[in-house]
């Protein structure tokens, strides 16, 4: 049975991944990466994987974004 809502979610997921890769700037790429993580969390909750959805939400959207932003701020200090 073809679930159209889930198909749209997967299209959002793949386009977020493609956007995170194709976009030029570092900061925008990291923000699109957290959008990718949030959409991945929705996909997991649709697939009845509750534990993995929580972990992906906290680690993907929360933690990795914090690390990426910190690394970018450290890697842009001199050129400011």
């Amino acid at each position: 049975m073809f679930n159209f809502a889930y198909f749209l979610l997967l299209v959002l997921l793949v386009s977020a991944a493609a956007a995170a890769v194709l976009v030029r700037g570092m900061i925008t790429s990291v923000i699109v990466l957290s959008v990718f993580s949030v959409s991945l969390t929705l996909v997991f909750s649709f697939l009845q994987a509750v534990d993995v959805a929580m972990a992906e939400a906290v680690i993907g959207a929360g933690l990795l974004t914090a690390f990426f932003v910190t690394a970018i701020s450290r890697a842009r200090r001199k050129t400011k």
């Binding site: 493609a18 009845q48 690394a71 450290r74």
Partner: protein, 113 residues
């Protein structure tokens, strides 16, 4: 049909991540590609666990069919390992920036001479 859609999505996200890792010139963008590649495998593991009509693997009396809990445990471990490797990758990128003053790999290879 849901499983096959998820497999197609997992493979395409894996190839997008691999494309970014192989062709991008910016160190931080390579770490983004790495993180996307790791997440695609987590999606593959969770898609493998899905059963038609199965519910979340938390036991309660009236549910009969559950989703397979083992790939969820593997997926959890894979997410945390991916986060650890990404943290080390970011640490390396900051260290490379301190030595070479740039995050662009072509400039780094050129200055290595």
């Amino acid at each position: 049909m849901i499983r096959e859609m998820s497999f197609v999505a997992a493979i395409s996200v894996f190839c997008i991540g691999l494309y970014c890792v192989l062709t991008d010139r910016n160190l931080i963008k390579i770490c983004v590609g790495l993180s996307i590649m790791e997440s695609s495998i987590v999606l593959l593991l969770v898609a493998i666990a899905y059963r038609e009509g199965g519910l979340a693997p938390v036991f309660s009396a009236e549910i009969e069919t559950y989703v397979d809990p083992v790939p969820h445990a593997l997926a959890l471990t894979a997410i945390v390992i991916g986060a650890g490797v990404t943290a080390v990758a970011l640490g390396l990128s900051v260290l490379i920036y301190r030595h070479f003053g740039t995050l662009n790999i072509d400039k780094i290879w050129r200055s290595l001479g």
